[in-house]
Amino acid sequence: MPNILVYALHYDGAINKNSLGAVSEGARLAEELGGEAHAIMLGEGVAEDLAASLGRYGAKKVLVAEGPEGLAQPLVDAMAKAIGDGGYGYALFGGGLLGFEIGAGLAARLGAGVAMEVTNVRAEGGKLIAERPILGDSAISEIAYRSPVGIIIGRLNAFEARESGAGSAQVEQLSFELSEHATRATMITRGEQRGADVDIEGADVLVAGGRGLGKPEGFKLCEELAQAFGGNSAVAATRAVVDAGWYPYAAQIGQTGKTVSPKLYLAAGISGAIQHKVGMQSSENIVAINKDANAPIFEFSDLGIVGDLNKILPKLTEAVKAKKAS
């Protein structure tokens, strides 16, 4: 069964960039397997032209299912129905929280093997092998599937969205039954923005703060340093401190936040968890300040400073100001 079913997350009339990447990757892999990539979208009245637009990224067909948006279990039902109808050897997800939930639920439903945080997939002998970095990215393990269907959950930004030059995809309605437990969760509000609306995606210099700042006021040190750089600079934050209410959600980097690639990324008090790394690792220059010499961020920073940010940041701000003035 050489076809690949790709989950396409959408919100507010647009398809998620990571899902576009997964569709592109699915199309590439399906071609190697001698099959087709199909996408699946679920929502309340998904627009046909939005679904058809996935053809440009290589989907031959898009299955559209009617159901509640933003929750995983309805998609487990819909994807299990599509896979049960036949033809699919793999289900593929871009990075993101829902992809993890749906992929895991689908693995349980189908008795299928699942690999998550996948950064690369290759076809070998008519089958797919998933590569997953483990142990803080110090090794890559290769996963094959014994089950009739293999589930691949990509890491955020692992798959690049590529327009294939093809036209619209064929759109087909998928009818399926919601399982009883899928009806027991209800979205009350979705996509609430917390805190100020700040723009970090276009910045050339980002000063990012994490839990190591110690308290919400610690962000003042980051803001002053960003100001010293002047021009197109801004302050960003990790999920931990955004969830704690120290800084606006709009400034968050990583798994459920923004992906950035500024000229300079200066991380203060950030340990460098994978969920953060995936959102900033393509920055041109990474400078990290952390008091813990074993912090994972030093594994992927270009310049690492082991020390107390409360001592270093104010002096660095003064020095940057002085340099700019000279």
Partner: protein
């Protein structure tokens, strides 16, 4: 209500994690501890109990793992669980996420919990998926990475950060909820609780006791098959400055930035 908290023993954060080169499985020797994320799940259970909006008869810590995992259960009990259940069987070794979730679900079925809580990820496997696997086997609704949870009657009102901002979701009980570390600040166990933990009831179950089908678990029966490990692409190591004299450190940073025309 009865709350089961899934916990896991993981290598201590200070221990260097490595693979066993012959099996591709994680080398799980060395200093071990309760997965830090799980302490937030136990604390969440305690707060439901202490919140008083619904009576909590029992909080039960449940784990699957080798004999050493008993220590993680003792820690869980010292943090507030009333008793614990240990699924321990050589036949389970090497189970992938799907097989582990299946075996845990069978163990939970014996307890018929109204709420299953767990940490959003384990410190060693970095995977956020076990809750969704367990929920599917139990036929319960589930939500992961929850950072706020309020109980009202037969439902939970949960908040979490997802791809487009914060979502608020109502989940009817029974349910499986994985919690993020922002949900609470776990308490420290009292000395009395630590000393008393070993005296609390601990049931050790074999796979057979939990009615786990041996054909569905273990490394050989797992559907995801580890075939090889390789080093990641080499990346030039970054420069490291140990801050001793901050004035000098800052000078070096500025020079580094200046060389790259970043100021």
């Amino acid at each position: 209500m009865k709350i089961c908290v899934l916990v896991k023993e993981v290598p201590d954060a200070a221990v260097e994690k490595k693979l066993n080169p012959s099996t591709g499985r994680m080398d799980r020797s060395g200093e071990r501890n309760l997965n830090p994320y799980d302490t937030h799940a136990i604390e969440a259970a305690m707060q439901v109990r202490e919140g008083g909006s619904i009576p909590v008869e029992e909080i039960v810590a449940v784990t699957m793992g080798p004999e050493s995992a008993v220590r993680a259960l003792h820690k869980a009990v010292s943090l507030g669980a009333d008793r614990s259940v240990h699924l321990c069987d050589e036949a389970l070794a090497g189970s992938d996420v799907a097989a582990t979730g299946y075996a845990l679900a069978k163990t939970l079925e014996r307890e018929s919990p109204d709420l299953v809580l767990l940490g959003q990820q384990s410190d060693d496997g970095e995977c956020y998926t076990i809750g969704a696997v367990v929920a599917e086997h139990l036929g319960m609704p589930s939500l992961t990475q929850v950072i706020k949870m309020d109980v009202s009657g037969e439902a939970l009102r949960c908040e979490r950060q997802a791809e487009y901002g914060y979502d608020t979701v109502e989940v009817k009980l029974p349910a499986v909820i994985s919690v993020g570390d922002a949900i609470n600040e776990p308490r420290y166990p009292s000395l009395k609780a630590i000393m008393g933990a070993k005296k609390k009831q601990l049931d050790s179950l074999s796979a057979g006791d939990a009615q786990v089908d041996p054909a569905k678990v273990g490394g050989e029966n797992s559907a995801a098959q580890w075939i090889a490990a390789k080093p990641p692409p080499a990346k030039a190591a970054g420069e490291i400055i140990e801050d001793e004299d901050t004035g000098e450190t800052v000078e070096r940073i500025v020079a580094w930035l200046d060389e790259r025309k970043l100021i």
